[in-house]
Amino acid sequence: MEAVFLAMVLMLSIFLGFELISKVPATLHTPLMSGANAISGITIVGALISAGGESGAMSSYLGAAAVMFAMINVAGGYLVTNRMLSMFKKKDAGQTGGKS
């Protein structure tokens, strides 16, 4: 039953994802991708449980390595996306901004 429930979640979120992302304008496609990189760092949740759990040393080390890689995505992804998005300025505000 658990599997069916998870499949339901998967199905709904794929549809929702398509709806949401097809509305993102072409101008923002690069930040969308780096933002998606950050979100895919959500595997960190699984990695944390393995890294801190008591399923043996190997499981902990694999988990810790996964925590590191996922954290690169999370930190790097959100920061670079923010850096990019702050560059997008409307015409009137264009001059005041400057490079960040």
């Binding site: 998870l6 979640v9 998967l10 979120s13 794929i14 994802g17 949401l20 992302i21 509305k23 993102v24 304008p25 101008t27 923002l28 496609h29 690069t30 930040p31 969308l32 991708m33 780096s34 998606a36 990189n37 950050a38 979100i39 895919s40 959500i42 595997t43 960190i44 699984g46 990695a47 449980i49 393995s50 890294a51 801190g52 008591e54 399923s55 902990s60 694999l62 810790a64 996964a66 925590v67 890689f69 996922a70 954290m71 690169i72 995505n73 999370v74 930190a75 790097g76 920061l79 670079v80 923010n82 990019m84 998005l85 702050s86 560059m87 997008f88 409307k90 505000a93 001059q95 490079k99």
Partner: protein, 453 residues
């Protein structure tokens, strides 16, 4: 915190992820969207740390700190021209993380067959995403040749790897154990498959591959979610998967090619375009300035060459001068200009071009005949009229920006090679085309100097 509470917080995080993505729908709200999304991630991580299964924190702390420092430095240092490489590496690290989460989940007690299958899926997808992304990075950063690498028995070899992968996976699931030799075989084969899958894809097709790998990194997270029975991984992973697939689809459409065609045939080996011959009409900066000064509407059409020449800042300067001169200035951007979706937009935004001046292909084409001067900077295929007229052209049928229908076209190009030799782009010989030879940055700077002088 009890499992129920943790899952309730995951629901909150999922809602914030969704809301964050929704706000990415407009440049005005996008910064806030990104903040919401990162807040969702913080919540998800924080409540997970309260999970009773987590007993030791030292390893986690060290690993998370190393990862955060690497990520933060990379995010600060990366040049906007190198964003495709950066995204490729991020795709890869997402993939390897999912592979390891899947692998570690094998050590859990009492996995059902269904769980074993999903564990294997997260290992396979994660593995091929990782190695494929590293190879894509190598091609993009030109550590290796960016051309398509094709050899005779490629398809047979790939089919062999795929069959091996399926056989080993089945054998593993029949008798799952952490020291099963089939586990190592599956990991090795999926890494190999990622390499083989990206090898035959050429530089110009990179936007498709990066988008696709982006999608895979999400799907790998999704599979890992099934492996450890975790909702938030499935929700967030499938969002990423959907984003990647949509972008892949947009890229393929913009090149008039099917995904299968991009993945399985090396580009360029297809057809030979009809060579066109004619005389090019070169122009010097002085004359270009006179024409631009009289123009009422000017549209810049950038391509990857603009990024290579680092010309975006001086282009923006010229754009501002033209606006002061009373002209309407737009930047027309083809979906596959650059090496990743939206690459040109980011470069121009970095150079302080306001986003309301960035227009898409569908918006500029209907009014292109009212454009006095179209300035093509480092773009070639995306403005090549043989995509419309020449059935023999390898890019026939690809939607292009119809700059040849503007009143005047300036093409900035390094050189022409030998004067009368045939080229694949009839635009260069058009009656209304003027060639501005030389480095794009220097050429534009020369025109800017004329304006100021």
């Amino acid at each position: 915190m009890s499992a129920v509470m943790i899952n309730l917080w995951y629901v909150v995080a999922a809602a914030l992820f969704i809301f964050g993505l929704k706000q990415l729908g407009s440049p005005a709200t996008a910064v806030r969207g990104n903040v919401l999304s990162s807040l969702a991630m913080v919540i998800a991580i924080a409540v997970t740390l309260l999970n009773k299964e987590i007993l030791t924190f030292e390893l986690i702390l060290v690993a998370a700190l190393i990862g955060a420092v690497i990520g933060a430095i990379a995010a600060q240092k990366v040049e906007m021209t190198s964003m495709p490489e950066m995204v490729a590496l991020f795709n890869g690290s997402g993939g390897i993380a999912s592979l390891m989460v899947g692998w570690a989940a094998l050590y859990n007690m009492g996995n059902t067959t269904f769980t074993d299958v999903t564990i294997l899926l997260s290992i396979v997808i994660g593995g091929m995403t990782f190695s494929g992304s590293i190879l894509a990075w190598g091609k993009l950063s030109e550590v290796m040749t960016s051309a398509a690498v094709v050899f005779g028995a490629q398809r047979i070899v790939n089919a062999g790897i795929l069959v091996g992968l399926v056989v080993c996976s089945v054998l593993f699931c029949l008798n799952p154990s952490v020291d099963s030799p089939y586990l190592y075989a599956v990991i090795a084969l999926s890494l190999l498959f990622g390499v083989m899958a990206v090898l035959p894809i050429g530089g110009a097709d990179m936007p498709v591959v990066i988008s696709l790998l982006n999608s895979y990194s999400g799907l790998a997270a999704c599979a890992a979610g099934f492996a450890i029975n975790n909702n938030i991984l499935i929700v967030a992973g499938s969002m990423v998967g959907a984003a990647g697939i949509i972008l892949t689809n947009i890229m393929c459409k913009a090149m008039n090619r099917s995904l299968g065609h991009v993945l399985f045939s090396g580009f360029g080996a297809v057809k030979q375009a009809t060579k066109v011959e004619g005389e090019v009409k070169p122009i010097v900066a002085e004359d270009a300035f006179l024409i631009l000064e009289a123009a009422q509407s000017v549209s810049f059409v950038p391509g990857y060459g603009m990024a290579v020449a680092q010309a975006q800042h001086v282009v923006r300067e010229l754009g501002e001068l033209l606006e002061k001169n009373g002209a309407e200035v737009t930047y027309a951007i083809h979906p596959v200009a650059g090496r990743m979706p939206g690459h040109m937009n980011v470069l121009l935004a970095e150079a302080n071009v306001p986003y309301d001046q960035l227009v898409e292909m569908e918006d500029i084409n209907p009014r292109i005949d009212n454009v006095d001067v179209a300035v093509v900077i480092g773009a070639n295929d995306v403005v090549n009229p043989s995509a419309r007229n020449d059935e023999n052209s390898p890019i026939y049928g690809m939607p292009i920006i119809n700059v040849d229908q503007a009143r005047t076209v300036f093409v900035l190009k390094r050189s022409m090679g030998s004067g009368f030799s045939g080229v694949d782009n009839p635009l260069f010989f058009g009656d209304n085309t003027r060639m501005l030879f030389g480095d794009a940055k220097q050429s534009i700077a020369a025109v800017v100097a004329e304006f100021k002088g």
